[in-house]
Every structure is written in structure tokens, then in C-alpha cells.
Amino acid sequence: MPNPLVRTPASLLGPLNEVEERFAPSQMFLVGDLGLLTQGRRVAIVGSRRASETGLKRAARLARILAEQSVIVVSGLAEGIDTAGHRAAIAARGRTIAVLGTPVDRCYPPGNASLQDEIGARHLLVSQFPVGQPVQKQNFILRNRTMALLSDASVIVEAGESSGSLSQGWEALRLGRPLFLMRSVVENPDLEWPQEMLDHGARVLAEPEELFDGLPPERNREPADAPF
């Protein structure tokens, strides 16, 4: 693994507003194509590590459709939904970003080491944790906040009441970014969190194509002047 480049979020995303600043990492360690954070639109696909077969298929289909429309697929390299999203984006010849809960020289889960290598070589790895820093459980919550910051929109494909993906959902809502919940999640009578998120502004995603209407324009494509 090559030495990571070190950048601030604002140096890649443009100036952050005060709400974005609050939980933004002070620096990010990056391996791969930094252009994936300065151009294009990014959508995070997140969900359970122990996902159902149907959930994995939904994540893969969504990632493929996004990749076919040149949308960059962002996820966290975890087992389950994350892995399905990354792999489907790559298979569709799209681009993907893995936002890690470990430093870039470590891999969790270990079984995704080759996928992490591939993303670092051809796409982009992002970590807010310097090489050598011990991996702690709280890293993954911090990582989820960063993933929400780096993404123009987030989609929760499948998640239980205690899933770490929920922290990303709440952060997306706090940032005022579109948060989509797969319809199958919303219709699951065993879950309470989807209705709570809907009450706070999340939207139901019935078909992947509906995402494109909710995506904001590229934030780095700001005109120099305004027509007013």
C-alpha cells in the first residue's frame, strides 16, 4: 500500500458550512484517485453486515444503476451491504470510494483485503485515522459521519435497530443531505427507526431511478458569479 496523501475535507469538497464543520475530520488519509472527491456526484450505499440475500441483491442492483449513470458509489468496506455495493459498482465499470474505519494500512474485515487493495489501486480509499493508530469501536461511528459528509446522498438498504448505518442516516439528515430508505425497510413492521427518520425528512426509495431526481448538483461546480 503506497503512503497515503493527506488532505483536509475542505481542500477537496470546497468550503464547509458550519453544520458540516461540526463533525468533519481535521484531515483525511487518501489512497487512489482524489478526483473522485472533487468531481462527479457521490451516493453512499449502506446497511447491515449480516444482510439478507434480498438485501444484498438490492444493494448490488442500486450500485449498478448508479455506476451506469456515472454516479460514484460510496460505502464502508464492511461485510454485507457495503461489500455488495462496492463489488457491483466495480463490476459495472463504475467508480467507488471506500471510507474506512481503520487506517489505510489495516483492513477490516480481513476478508476484504483484496477488495481494499483493488479500490486503492483503481478507485479511492479514505480514512480519517493516521497509519499506526489503534482501531477502536468508535472509529466506525466517526467513519459513518465522514461518509455522510463525503456523499451527496445516502441510501440505507437494510438495517436493524442497532445497525451502525443508522448513525450515517442521522448524520445525513443533520447535514441536510437527501437520505433514502429502501421501501422494503420502511414496510418492515419490526422496525421503528424508519418512521422516525421519515419524520425527520428521510424519503422512501421505491425504485433506484428515483434517486436521480433527489441528487443535488456537483458542489464544486460553482459559477464565479450569480445571475442576481
Binding site: 453544520v19 442521522w170 441536510g176 419524520d199 425527520h200 425528512g201 458542489r219 450569480a226 442576481f228
Partner: protein
């Protein structure tokens, strides 16, 4: 009890449906404003950028009658519930207006007690009515000495939100002048859209069927 009429002003307009370059540009600007993105060469926060532009062009408009140094600004709440620390564009905009001398203070006293359908996510006929806005809002911690309140929102379409919110405030503040300001006015008919700079003063009226009509 809903007000039957509300005075409002707006600075800009945008076209949600137009296909020409100007219409598309207007939509991109609305997204920047709603996302509080960096704007202009200095990449100022959108709320600060547009408040400065409004201040610079105030003399070309009649908005100086609405946004005075004595006006108390009340940010419009979101249509959904909101956790503390979340992006709240009308509040940022109100703060930026005060910094430009276009208001005396910001009093965030309107709170949503239950979520409504997001207007952008439902067909026009299903958008929340003024009554629904009124019923889902409460006034909290209101204490001020002014005689003039303006409710500040980012975008106005039919004006149901502003009319419902003004009606809620009027209930506990009889005799106080309450008006509305929305930074951007929606022009649903693409043929009507010419330019984003379209300052106006106008009215939101309550119709017999409970819907609202904004003019212009």
C-alpha cells in the same frame, strides 16, 4: 383561526420545470441555497452571499419596506421534525439578513410538533395546506419588544407554510404586524420565468377550499 391574507416579499425567482439554460441555472442556485454551499469567487456561505446581494440591490426593490433595521425575523421551521444542530437554512438566512441590517434580531420561536409531507416529494394537490401547517406548529419562548415580525423562509410556492405560520403567531400576538419573506419564489409556468432577479411584494390569500394562492 387562519389569517385570510398575508403580505409577503421575495427577492429571487426560479423555474422548477423550465428546460432552457437560465431555468436550469436557477434550479442549481436553489440547490446551493438549500445546501448552504460556498458561493461566488470568495466561496461565501450561500446565506451570507445572497443576503449581501440583497443588501447591495435593496434600492432597486421595494423590500426595504419589509426588511427594516427594526424588523424581528422568525425563521420558518422545516416541514419535518428537526434535531438540534441540523442544517436550518431559513435560520441561517435570517441571521445573514440581520448582519446586513435587514432585521433587528432573529427569534427562532416556531417549532414543528409533527412532521408533514415534504412538498417537494408529493404531487401539487397533496402538498400540506395552511391549516395543516397551522395545526403542526407551536410557538415557543417568544419574548420581544418589536411591533413588526417577518417570517423568513427559503422558498415560497403557494404560501401555505407562511400563512399557516403567520396565523399561529397572530394567535398569541394580536395587534402585531406579521408578514412573510421568502428568498426565492417558485414560478411553475416556465413561460413566466425570465430572470432570477425578480424582487416583489405581494399577497398570499386563503381560498374557500382551504388552499392558498400566491400573487405574484
Amino acid at each position: 383561526m387562519l389569517l385570510s391574507d398575508l403580505e409577503f416579499g421575495s427577492f429571487l425567482c426560479y423555474s422548477p420545470h423550465g428546460q432552457d439554460e437560465r431555468a436550469q441555472e436557477s434550479r442549481a442556485w436553489v440547490e446551493r441555497i438549500k445546501g448552504e454551499h460556498g458561493c461566488g469567487q470568495a466561496r461565501l456561505p450561500a446565506s451570507v452571499f445572497v443576503a449581501r446581494r440583497l443588501s447591495e440591490r435593496l434600492a432597486e426593490t421595494e423590500l426595504h419596506t419589509l426588511l427594516t433595521p427594526e424588523t424581528v425575523l422568525v425563521p420558518a421551521p422545516r416541514s419535518t421534525l428537526q434535531r438540534p444542530g441540523s442544517l436550518w437554512v431559513p435560520a441561517l438566512l435570517a441571521n445573514a439578513l440581520v448582519l446586513q441590517g435587514l432585521g433587528r434580531e432573529v427569534v427562532p420561536c416556531l417549532k414543528r410538533t409533527r412532521a408533514l409531507r415534504k412538498s417537494a416529494a408529493v404531487p401539487a394537490a397533496e402538498r400540506p395546506s395552511a391549516r395543516e401547517h397551522f395545526d403542526s406548529l407551536e410557538v415557543t419562548d417568544f419574548g420581544f419588544s418589536g411591533r413588526d415580525i417577518v417570517i423568513v423562509d427559503d422558498v415560497i410556492t403557494r404560501g401555505a407554510m407562511l400563512l399557516g405560520a403567520a396565523s399561529r403567531l397572530a394567535l398569541i400576538l394580536p395587534g402585531i404586524r406579521i408578514r412573510g419573506f421568502a428568498l426565492v419564489r417558485t414560478l411553475s409556468d416556465p413561460e413566466q420565468f425570465r430572470n432570477m432577479f425578480a424582487p416583489c411584494l405581494g399577497h398570499v390569500r386563503l381560498l374557500e377550499d382551504g388552499q392558498t394562492r400566491r400573487r405574484p
